[in-house]
Symmetry: C2
Subunit: 185 residues, 2 copies
């Protein structure tokens, strides 16, 4: 019986299992990936997001955000994201590249209606996110479905590193039909 | 007596205190920031790094890496990084932008000589990182000072968010002499 990290398929299953845990468990490290984009002036940007869905069959993830956040401006110019998860308990680093489609307005209304009131508070702030304000609390949160955006992330590559006694690194790509390719770590 | 997150100076001190903890404590979340760059083909990239030094007076951080890693290629083309830390215990997200200078060769030799043998193992792998290999362990680690690189990160902006009962977001910049500017969260 081999360990999960000894085969490429074992690692791929662990990656998707980890993403699934992140969706289901608010305390799991995969709940809050780091989401990197390229700004309109060419700088890398990184921030925490909350992983909402992860579907292995389609190779897609979703994340929710405020339509007026900086990441939307960046994604409108360059619709590519890198997602990063470090799961210390499993010694597993997951790096994903994804193409991102932004859904908003009517397309998201059915989903919005299912979001609990307290969570709707995350979407809709005046002035919009990143606006300079005089004092720390000079803003008003008012749930607004018109500021709710869903980021549909179509994964193009997965790079996983297991940092055990030995280091094992493997990549998977959509164009390669998710066949594992071992890489020097 | 105010809480640390109620003043911009309090948050800035907490940011530097957190970075210092990351340098000193291998178990602290600030030990392993996510380090985002832009690849030569314009994709965002993100991976875990280990924070080696953090100096508030100069506003600089250092990170060590393998000279043949993908982040070096990216930084040679675009010497800008975003560093990201999520400290769940403090409900604190730290986002940094930094300009990066790569030191290698003779400039790093004195530092290399101080690195313990087991840690030198992280620098020098054949074939070089990211090269496709036949099976998972088809590589050799051999410490090689010529593959050791130090990334000197000169912070240009700090964006900190405290996600307490209220959300507080503040930015600091080198050009603004690290004076805090509250932002809508």
């Amino acid at each position: 019986m081999s360990e999960w990290f000894e085969t490429a398929d074992g690692i791929l299953s662990k990656v998707w299992g980890t993403l699934g845990r992140g969706v289901a468990d608010a305390k799991h490290p995969a709940r809050r990936p780091t989401f990197a984009t390229v700004s309109t002036d060419g700088w890398p940007e990184a921030r925490t997001v909350v992983l909402r869905t992860a579907d292995r069959a389609s190779g897609m993830l979703t994340v929710h955000t405020d339509l007026y956040s900086d990441k939307i401006k960046s994604l409108q110019a360059s619709p590519r994201a890198a997602l990063h998860i470090w799961d210390a308990k499993q010694d597993l680093q997951i790096r994903l590249q994804a193409e991102v489609v932004i859904d908003t307005g009517a397309a998201t209304r059915a989903l919005w209606d299912k979001i609990p009131d307290h969570a709707q508070q995350s979407y809709g702030v005046t002035p919009s996110p990143g606006t300079p304000i005089e004092t720390a609390l000079d803003y008003v949160k008012e749930p607004d479905p018109d500021t709710f955006a869903v980021l549909h992330c179509t994964i193009t590559t997965i790079d996983a590193v297991h940092l055990g006694t030995d280091h094992r690194r493997v990549s998977f790509s959509r164009v390669g039909h998710w066949q594992g390719q071992w890489l020097s770590p």
